[in-house]
Subunit: 152 residues, 2 copies
């Protein structure tokens, strides 16, 4: 299970390029459930996400299953995807024993910037205190789903 | 993990219609990994299968993950599938504490008939003694994969 929160970003942290980062391209075959293909550096991944409604929290809860994808399969599936691919640079920033994934979007989705944090439990997601450079919590706003952005 | 063997069928068992059966239509978006959509009666299912090579057995070993699929998603994904859908009637026949899934194919794949048996362990798959109405074990023959049949 994937448990996460998603935030707008007010200010970028200093020395961003000192953190590990990777170029991501992803596109969607389906949104119910989410069926995503992703190229992440030289890795190709098929992901299926099934949104689970968990009472008592605004954090995102997904059953998430990942499968390695052959590069030829990626190319063939990419041609079948809806909308346009989403391209972004993802930075991984350590924060209080967690990892902030900071996504800087490119192309038609620039200058959008989103930060995601994954948690080991619903309790940890509920107790999370974001750093002061985070903006609004948009976990429950469907307009910031990458699968929605791909349809714009 | 799905562990199974697949057989050709020499003779159909008696009283076939006394066993539970369902109409299945399925089609494929990808074969590496296998990305299948299936309509099974009034249920719609997305399945991803990743073939695992397990030494010391000819039984099929797959990581298999299933997700419920909205009927509208089924219709949209069906239009993106490669080849043609596979249609079959599946009978579930109890056999020595296991279940034989007997698939009678329709349309362009008739008169093909295949039997599959799923096992709780590799040892059970290796020790399996098929009933005398089964024919050749085609577990390792890619020509009898449903994803291959969909490309014919």
């Amino acid at each position: 299970m994937e448990i996460e929160r998603k935030y707008l970003v007010r200010d970028l942290p200093d020395n961003l390029d000192s953190y590990p980062h990777v170029e991501i391209e992803q596109a969607y075959l389906c949104t119910s459930p989410t069926l995503r293909i992703r190229r992440m550096g030289d890795r190709y991944i098929l992901t299926v996400k099934q949104n689970l409604r968990v009472p008592g929290t605004t954090a995102i809860h997904n059953r998430e299953e990942e499968f390695p994808l052959a590069p030829e399969s990626y190319a063939r599936l990419r041609a079948k995807c809806d909308g346009m691919p989403v391209a972004k640079t993802r930075y991984r920033i350590p924060y209080n024993g967690l990892v902030i994934e900071l996504d800087i979007f490119h192309g038609p989705h620039a200058p959008l910037i989103l930060a995601e944090v994954e948690f080991p439990s619903t309790e940890a997601a509920n107790a999370f205190l974001p750093p002061d450079w985070f903006g609004e919590d948009v976990s429950t706003d469907p307009h910031y789903r990458n699968s929605y952005l791909a349809q714009l």
